[in-house]
């Protein structure tokens, strides 16, 4: 399973990459939405997108919208957001996000959410 992680904070990106690799996933990283979009346009094997909402160049909301309209309409998307951004989260769901997790996050919880979403998508 291949997961694209899009996060501008290097520390969080490394933590996510390491944790997901530990779970046995192939992890591709992108430091902003623009890079993620480029990867998505070339790599068609990606099974899940894990994206932060606030990033430079292309934000998470725009990325979700782009994915849903241009690339894969059924690609599972999980958002990483800060607490207290309920309206943004709702907007992201409207755009087509499947799940979200708030920072600070529990890596075990994230791994379980990813697993659940991948199984659901497979079914």
């Amino acid at each position: 399973m291949k997961i694209l992680v899009c996060e501008d904070d290097t520390m969080t990106l490394k933590a996510l990459e390491h944790r997901l690799k530990k779970e046995g996933y192939t992890v591709i990283t992108a430091a902003d939405g623009k890079k993620a979009a480029e990867i998505l346009s070339t790599d068609t094997d990606i099974d899940l997108l894990l994206t932060d909402l606030h990033m430079p160049m292309l934000g998470g909301l725009e990325l979700i919208s782009l994915v849903r309209s241009n690339f894969k309409s059924n690609l599972p998307i999980i958002m990483l957001t800060r607490v207290g951004l309920e309206e943004t989260v709702l907007h992201a769901f409207e755009l087509g996000a499947d799940d979200y997790i708030t920072k600070p996050f529990n890596p075990d919880e994230l791994a379980l959410r990813i697993k659940r979403l991948l199984i659901k998508n497979k079914v």
């Binding site: 490394k14 933590a15 607490v83 996050f105």
Partner: protein, 462 residues
């Protein structure tokens, strides 16, 4: 004034023209006959030497003048004038240097004090400029290199920390490696920063492991030292580190800084207190003397939501002597919907501070406490304009038919259009009964409400 300036400029210009004319006539005046003639008679050469000698003499270029007069003397050894001038110039050249600053006479062959000073100033300026430029360049280069090194270390530590946190078993070798790295102050500082970054992102088991590592490396001692430092910015950093790593050792120092005059330090102390004192996170509100600024309030609110802190009953600060604490409590009651504070809030409608009364009315509206409506109606006539607006707006947020007659009265009796609009909006929100009432008023001949009611009923305007 302008006339004086113009006159002054004119005089200055005339003076400049005069000097230019004078000197140009001396230097650039053409000799009577061409000098390029090859077959010159000794008379002509003599005259030419005398002419140039005189020019140089007038310009005080004594050595050059002397050469010309010597030349003339050689052509006509018996002539009186060149001998006289030569003797005169020889005497002059052996005299002490001319330092007549008023007339600005420079002897370029033997520079005076002014020339020497000017040369020194130029040399000093040039040397300073070159030195400054070199220092700036070296410093800049040094900073770039230091930043590169820091960035390299950051990346290295990030990888190491992540490896440590997500490893299945405790990797002693890795711990020893991190311990070796953490032997210098700079490295420890970078390591702490990275750990704080991670602690912001993670929760659960990984965060616990991070704290264990932080304690094992004795980085808490560094943070403690910072918290006890004299410089406020170091202190503030120490507070933040301790708060994020949940270390309680400097709590007394943090409490001391809760009433600091320094806004940033006070805010950091509040933030640390909220994080480090779970039993009484908001205890600092009890004895906060200074104004609890909006920025501080926002930070505390962010801390509550970000760290999922247990909420206190904000009702207990509604009677605080510090008005800003009361305002904050009201805002928190509204955000976290602590309706149980209703009775305490009612007494705030009689508060001397109109801003607190206004905030209370807003909270009633936000929480839709219909029981407050008669009280709002009661205080309306004695309230300030802004509070009257808030009352009518709050009534619109919790539409209740019992207020219809009151709102109609506001629409009828008030002269202020904004108040009338708010009242009409509130009536409109009352559902069918409100719409009927507005339609009746629209068709009524009693008073012309048409513009206001049409405005409120216009669905294009929300």
């Amino acid at each position: 004034m302008n006339r004086c300036i113009i006159q002054g400029r004119f005089i200055f210009l005339i003076t400049i023209i005069f000097f230019l004319q004078h000197y140009s006539s001396i230097v650039f005046a053409q000799p009577e006959k061409s000098l390029s003639e090859k077959s010159e008679s000794s008379e002509k050469r003599y005259e030419r030497a005398i002419l140039w000698g005189e020019r140089f003499y007038q310009l005080h270029l004594n050595t050059l003048a002397l050469k010309q007069f010597d030349k003339a003397h050689k052509i006509k050894p018996g002539a009186y004038f060149p001998t006289y001038r030569s003797n005169q110039l020889k005497i002059k050249l052996h005299q002490p240097k001319n330092t007549n600053l008023g007339f600005m006479v420079f002897d370029f062959n033997k520079p005076g004090i002014l020339i020497s000073a000017l040369i020194l100033v130029i040399l000093f300026s040039f040397t300073s400029m070159v030195t400054a430029l070199t220092i700036v360049l070296v410093n800049r280069n040094h900073m770039i290199l230091a930043e590169k090194r820091k960035q390299h270390l950051r990346e290295e530590y990030q990888t190491m920390l992540v490896n440590f946190l997500f490893a299945k078993d405790i990797n002693e070798e890795l711990i020893q490696k991190i311990r070796r790295i953490a032997s210098t102050n700079i490295n420890r500082r970078i390591l702490i920063d990275q750990m704080i970054d991670l602690s912001i992102t993670l929760t659960g088991l990984e965060k616990e492991r991070l704290k264990e590592l932080y304690l094992a490396l004795k980085l808490d001692q560094d943070s403690n030292k910072k918290a006890l430092a004299k410089k406020w910015h170091i202190k503030a950093k120490g507070f933040r580190e301790l708060a994020f790593m949940n270390i309680h050792s400097a709590n007394s120092e943090i409490i001391n800084c809760l009433s600091s005059k320094n806004d940033v330090l006070r805010m950091e102390a509040q933030f640390a207190m909220v994080r480090l004192n779970p039993d009484n996170s908001f205890g600092f509100l009890d004895f906060l003397q200074k104004r609890f600024t909006l920025w501080e309030q926002l930070n505390v609110y962010e801390t509550i939501t970000f760290h999922h802190l247990e909420l206190p009953n904000f009702e207990k600060w509604l009677q605080s002597d510090n008005d800003s604490v009361v305002m904050f409590s009201l805002r928190m009651i509204s955000v976290f919907k602590q309706i149980s504070a209703y009775n305490s809030m009612l007494s705030l409608l009689e508060h001397t501070n109109p801003e607190i009364r206004n905030q209370t009315i807003q909270v009633f509206g936000n929480l839709k406490i219909i029981e407050s409506l008669p009280h709002l109606k009661r205080i309306y006539k004695n309230e300030t304009y802004s509070n009257c607006m808030t009352i009518v707006s709050a009534m619109g947020k919790m539409p209740d038919n019992s207020m219809l007659s009151f709102l109609k009265l506001v629409l009828d009796k008030e002269d202020d259009v904004q108040l009338q609009i708010e009242a009409a909006k509130a009536i409109n929100k009352m559902g069918e009964e409100g719409s009927v009432a507005l339609t009746k008023l629209l068709n009524s001949d009693y008073k012309n409400y048409q513009i206001i009611i049409k405005h409120v009923l216009d669905k294009r305007i929300s």
